[in-house]
């Protein structure tokens, strides 16, 4: 696999290291000459000096044969442009963009750049994972495949507490894939019992969250979130 990484900051450098360790061929492009010198001491020929938003720099790095382009500079406009050009001009199969300012996420979407990863959003999701009062936690959204995985806590007195998995009235397009209890998880069968206090992972079509959340909240009244 050939990967081009634009931006040799902490994110780009460490990504390059990890991907090289996994056996990928990597070219890291860094536009600041001093930074380039530092990174080059370690990565040697795997780092190139240049502005990755310039077409000739991307072509020199061999973008035509790249399987993956990752834009992780500190500038959102640059990341958008690099990914747009990679995807639409050079028809690179996969792109990943870093979003520095989460308010710019809407612009990445407008230009069709997916996935766009924002550290702020990731940390926010981790916080939600650690704070169960939120009720529903979205763990993963596969937007193109139109699927998502959510985590719910089974409230005391909810309609499903004490029921068999097979008896939980879930809408079509949703499935319980895992139950977390006392710090460990298991994949339930139809006759597994769901208890109050369990954390349940479900895979579902987007849009079903609300009707599902109701089943797991106390008195079926809706989650606290």
């Amino acid at each position: 696999m050939y990967v081009i990484i634009a931006g040799g900051g902490k994110v780009g450098w460490n990504l390059a290291r990890e991907l090289i360790a996994k056996g990928a061929e990597v070219s890291l492009i860094e536009s600041d000459h001093r930074r380039y010198r530092v990174v080059e001491e370690e990565l040697e020929h795997a780092v190139q000096y240049g502005d990755a938003t310039e077409l000739w720099v991307l072509e020199r790095a061999g973008i035509q044969r790249a399987d993956l382009v990752i834009a992780v500079t500190g500038d959102d406009e640059d990341n958008m442009l690099i990914c747009q050009v990679a995807k639409e001009k050079y028809e690179v199969a996969r792109i990943v963009a870093r979003v520095n300012n989460p308010r710019n996420l809407q612009h990445f979407k407008l230009l069709g750049i997916q996935p766009a990863v924002s550290a702020t959003d990731l940390i926010l999701r981790l916080i939600e994972h650690e704070v169960p009062e939120y009720g529903l936690v979205q763990l993963l959204a596969l937007e193109e495949e139109r699927l998502e995985i959510i985590e719910l806590e089974v409230a005391a007195g909810s309609p499903v507490a004490g029921r068999r998995v097979a008896d939980v009235p879930l809408p079509d397009g949703s499935l319980i894939i895992s139950v977390l209890r006392g710090g460990t998880g298991f994949v339930p069968k139809g006759d597994s019992i769901i208890n109050a206090g369990d954390q349940v992972l479900l895979i579902l079509d987007p849009g079903l969250e609300e009707s599902i959340t109701r089943q797991f909240a106390s008195n079926g009244a809706g989650a606290s979130a």
């Binding site: 500038d75 406009e77 612009h107 407008l110 230009l111």
Partner: protein, 140 residues
């Protein structure tokens, strides 16, 4: 016509003043409050007293674009110092706000040519200079 210009550098501020002189409604958006001085220069009164609008803000912030009047704009000109900023905000103006005419200054000839093929009206001062130098050098 209502013209929104983002970036009051040499190109942006001169275009703004000429558009105002030609009788258009002109709004300018720039991150730097001091760029206003370029708009006042050579005017008998201030930019505002001559009928111009000026907003301080970043064009990637949708609120700033709206405050500068992008929803009413007939023409959008992206003329900041950054090619990538210009290309991104021009596409926002085109795709999100459906401004009928979008003009974007791109200093890199490579990107200017490619985005022009994709339907953006790009202006490349570098390409113009290259051609003029060539003409001047080889004129007989």
């Amino acid at each position: 016509m209502f013209i929104l210009i983002v970036g009051a550098g040499r190109v942006g501020s001169a275009s703004a003043k000429r558009s105002l002189e030609a009788g258009h409604e002109v709004s300018v958006l720039d991150t730097d409050p001091l760029s206003h001085e370029r708009l006042d220069k050579d005017l008998l009164t201030t930019w505002e007293d001559s009928g111009g609008r000026f907003t301080v803000g970043t064009a990637l912030e949708v609120d700033a674009l709206m405050a500068a009047g992008i929803e009413q704009a007939d023409v959008f000109i992206a003329s900041t110092a950054g090619d990538n900023t210009n290309l991104v905000i021009a596409q926002i103006a085109q795709r999100r706000f459906h401004v009928p005419r979008v003009v974007v200054v791109v200093r890199d000839p490579g990107r200017a040519a490619w985005y022009a093929e994709r339907g953006l009206h790009t202006i490349c001062p570098t390409q113009q200079a290259i051609e003029m130098v060539e003409q001047a050098a080889f004129a007989t």
